[in-house]
Symmetry: C2
Subunit: 374 residues, 2 copies
């Protein structure tokens, strides 16, 4: 018996593909053949030679038809999604909270869909955590964007006529992305401050050599995410942050709450108080932004500051983000396969917590509640 994992081409603005040669070899050892739509890996620079012993299909239709499991970076095209069938598995970032229509249409195909955004954030599942691996890339890229756009050096520089003082960087949100941003900004030699509403992140921020901004507000929540703050707490937080923002050359915000609009943490007035030439990179731009005035995909001038709302940051480094994505999916999939036979353990919390649709229905209680689907 052989299980076939099919990989259709990603959407037109996506450079990543969820496969590389290393993962192909590991899948082969599990009795899995990989079927790839021709051209699907061009933008992630995985050449046919580097992929090794895989099968190729000319169209996504053929991939979907022949695959037992479909691996995808994001949602499939409407036509490909409609071609999914009962008993087939789909895994990827499937934007489970996007809309009731989207999830209902997916469920109607009968496919068993795993939305990797829903993966329980427990230790055992860390090696499968796509949001984390891609978040690290996003945090890193935010710093590169900021360093490229700031009119200053990040590091201290001693030259023959004097010394340039290092740039001051503030990172708000100390999840995986924020911590990677802090680490990267430190690497580049800037003076870094970090902040997160969850006070337990202080130690992590400080362990990277950054200073923690103390606002006196705590929003420790469940599942590793922050809870929403009250209006009063937001006001107190804002006052303390305003000072830290005004003193910074670069502000990077990374605060996202899954399934909800990103919280507005930095107001227009706070940005306007920054020095001319300051740079703001709002990693939450696609979810509405942590900064007032952010526009996804654009650079806006707010006061004298450049406010940048980058989109799909992991697509900026597709060799490594594809590698991480593929390994995360491999780790999620491999417990389901033994000797070339596919079998899902529905008593496994990780499987159940990640399943979005199964047997023609939306099966994730949390998503159903948020979307108001009965």
């Amino acid at each position: 018996m052989t299980v076939v994992i099919g990989i259709p081409a990603s959407g037109e603005h996506e450079t990543r593909s969820p496969i590389n040669g290393d993962v192909v070899k590991k899948l082969a050892a599990l009795g899995v053949r990989v079927l790839i739509q021709r051209g699907a890996t061009d933008a992630s620079f995985a050449t046919p030679e580097s992929l090794g012993d895989v099968d190729w299909a000319e169209t996504s239709t053929e991939v979907i038809a022949r695959a037992d499991i479909v691996w995808s970076i994001g949602n499939l095209s409407a036509a490909d999604q409609a071609a999914l069938r009962p008993g087939q598995l789909l895994m990827g970032l499937l934007t489970p909270y996007a809309s009731a229509e989207h999830v209902t249409a997916l469920a109607a195909t009968g496919v068993t869909a795993f939305a990797m955004e829903l993966l329980p954030r427990i230790s055992r599942a860390q090696s499968m955590d796509i949001l984390s691996s891609q978040g690290a890339a996003s945090g890193y890229e935010c710093v590169l964007i900021a360093a490229s756009r700031t009119p200053k050096f990040f590091p201290m520089l001693t030259y023959a006529a004097g010394t340039i003082r290092p740039a001051r960087v503030l990172v708000i949100g100390a999840g995986v992305a924020g911590l990677q941003a802090i680490a990267t900004a430190k690497r580049l030699g800037s003076v870094v401050h970090g902040y997160d509403v969850r006070p337990e992140t202080r130690e992590q921020v400080e362990s990277l050599g950054a200073k923690f901004v103390n606002t006196g507000v705590s929003a420790a929540g469940s599942g590793g995410y922050a809870r929403e703050l009250t209006t009063e707490e937001k006001e107190q937080q804002a006052q303390a942050l305003a000072k830290a923002v005004a003193e910074s050359d670069v502000l990077i915000t990374t605060a996202a709450v899954p399934g909800k609009k990103a919280p507005v943490i930095v107001t227009r007035a706070m940005v306007e108080a920054m020095r001319p030439g300051s740079v703001v990179v709002d990693m939450a731009a696609e979810g509405g932004g942590n900064v007032e005035g952010t526009v996804a995909g654009k650079e806006m001038l707010v006061g004298g500051a450049r406010v940048i709302g980058p989109v799909n940051l992991p697509a900026r480094m597709p060799v490594h983000t594809s590698e991480m994505f593929a390994k995360n999916l491999l780790n999620f999939t491999s417990p389901m396969i033994a000797d070339g036979v596919l079998s899902i353990d529905w008593s496994d919390d990780v499987i159940v917590g990640t399943a979005l649709t199964h047997g023609g229905a939306l099966v994730h209680a949390g998503v159903a509640k948020v979307l108001g689907v009965p």
Copy 2:
């Protein structure tokens, strides 16, 4: 008595201005008033408040008319240049080797022009060395461009599902810019190799934590610059470099010879042997490029590699490059001024070596020879 230093607005693609608040204060102590064309410092983010006690003029014509000394980033507009007068001083990057017409026109005004590119590279003049200070910024920016365009992480990254190997960066040319590129690429965590035709640079490259590529060719020249290689030496160098280039994810070239076309060090075939997705940043693009296929101001695809030819890199970080530029000019100018009186010591090697035109004539023997001006 008061000496007036005038600063007209820079050209339209230039963000730098050769002044900041700190230098204004130091000039005041020498009895110098600074006269700035309104708006000239907007793009370098030096606000009127930060500049302090200066005078403002509405037009560049007024600046030129009232100034004893004109400080400029680059060449003046044709009209402003024509308005220069005998006894007046002009200092800046004046592209002395550009053309005989350019230098002859400048000389005809009678102005005493100091082309800072000509500054003797001796210890005493280091604090006045604009090519060095701006070169450091260029080397830094090259790495930011490369890191932004490569599809890989620069640093090693350990995540829950594995380890990402660091990118491999090769920097060719170990002058100020190349050394800064090496230092920055190391900061970002990549594995760095460095190369220069001058074997005495090996120690500097290695002191930054990079490995030196051994080609067995030496081109130690005079004045801190490399001499041109013979055809045979070029061949030997090319073979050794080809291997190092093919193994790299990122190639940064910084080899320039003042007054000459940049040497082509990396051929098209060498670039085509790089892995798909590799990135080449050719800092010498404006001088013709060190890499075959470079186009100044563009990103070209050569084989599977992205070959980037950035222009005016120091303009990407005008706060700090303006600060350095201003301090370099301050250090060059201050020995000429005592108690508000201007007096040039024509027995000073630094002054003589930097002077391009004086008393209506081209006075720099080296430039005269290259341009074929009698």
